[in-house]
Amino acid sequence: MSTESHTVDIQKHVRWYLRVFAALMILTVVTVAVSYLELTTRLAVAVALFIATIKGSLVACYFMHLISERKFIYTVLIVTVIFFVAMLLGPVMTQINSAGA
């Protein structure tokens, strides 16, 4: 790759970083605005976590370059996510058990 095309490539990345930055700022304002609505707890949790997931995905995909990463890293992350979800399910299972008892 020539130096010139390399620079153009980085500038393309930079444009994306700025777009993601704007999206993150807007979504943060939306998160706070939604919290002022009189939503039920369940709906408020769902909306807040949905927006946080979009924001987190933008950070991971663009700032952390996951969108163009190698297979090995995906393997590491998939294994981690499986354990992470299992850990989060622990409390939920406890709740189901105690509700059924």
């Binding site: 390399h6 620079t7 980085i10 990345h13 930079v14 970083y17 700025l18 993601v20 930055f21 993150l24 700022m25 943060t28 998160t31 706070v32 919290s35 707890t41 408020a44 949790v45 807040a48 976590l49 927006i51 946080a52 924001k55 987190g56 950070v59 991971a60 663009y62 700032f63 952390m64 190698r70 297979k71 090995f72 890293i73 590491v76 992350l77 294994v79 981690t80 996510v81 354990f83 992470f84 850990m87 989060l88 622990g90 409390p91 939920v92 406890t94 709740q95 105690s98």
Partner: protein
């Protein structure tokens, strides 16, 4: 003795070693914060009543801190992009901004903690406050660690640029991955503690 370092990608993984190392570390960090989030869920679903975070904590302060941390994530990635373009002056500017924004986050957090202590709110006050101080305290420790790494790469660590620019760029990218992860954790902490 010089520890050998290769900037090139390994043929088996297609990645350089430092990137594999940081992602494995971040995987362990996901589990660390994941365990605390799981504890939060366990304690919250088991509680007969739960306080509204916004009635105890300062949403404007946390909102400002969210904006500060997101901005620092952008300046961090711009610092790396500047190195890729071999613009050292721009790198120093953006890395400097990242450090300043990180410090601003900690200063705001300090005032937030001080207000809580002033109002007699401590980790032992309630389960909610215990979770608040544990989660935000651990997160703030990560911010402090990140600032330390970034300050080194802005100051004395920059000497490596002259000798091995690719290796230095890889270091900045690695520090960036850690910094973005810290930002990502805050993106979830903010609504979970302050708004729900």
């Amino acid at each position: 003795m010089e520890i050998p370092y290769t900037v090139s990608e390994r043929p088996d993984t297609g990645l350089n070693n430092v990137k594999i190392g940081i992602w494995l570390f971040l995987a362990s960090e996901i589990m660390l914060f994941g365990a605390l989030f799981a504890s939060y869920i366990l304690l919250r679903v088991g509680a007969t009543k739960w306080p509204d975070g916004s009635s105890i904590l300062s949403v404007p302060m946390a909102f400002t801190n969210t904006m500060v941390l997101i901005s620092s994530s952008v300046t961090m990635v711009m610092a790396w992009a500047s190195l890729m373009e071999k613009k050292l002056g721009r790198y120093r500017l953006f890395m400097g901004l990242t450090i300043v924004l990180g410090l601003a986050f900690l200063v705001i957090k300090f005032f937030e903690y001080r207000a809580k202590f002033h109002h007699g709110l401590h980790p032992s006050t309630s389960t909610f406050m215990a979770l608040y101080f544990t989660l935000t305290g651990l997160h703030a420790a990560h911010v402090a660690g990140g600032i330390g790494i970034n300050a080194y790469l802005w100051g004395p660590g920059l000497k490596l640029w002259e000798r091995a620019p690719q290796q230095f760029t890889n270091r900045v990218e690695t520090a960036g991955l850690f910094w973005h992860f810290v930002d990502l954790v805050w993106i979830f902490l903010f609504p979970v503690l302050y708004l729900l």
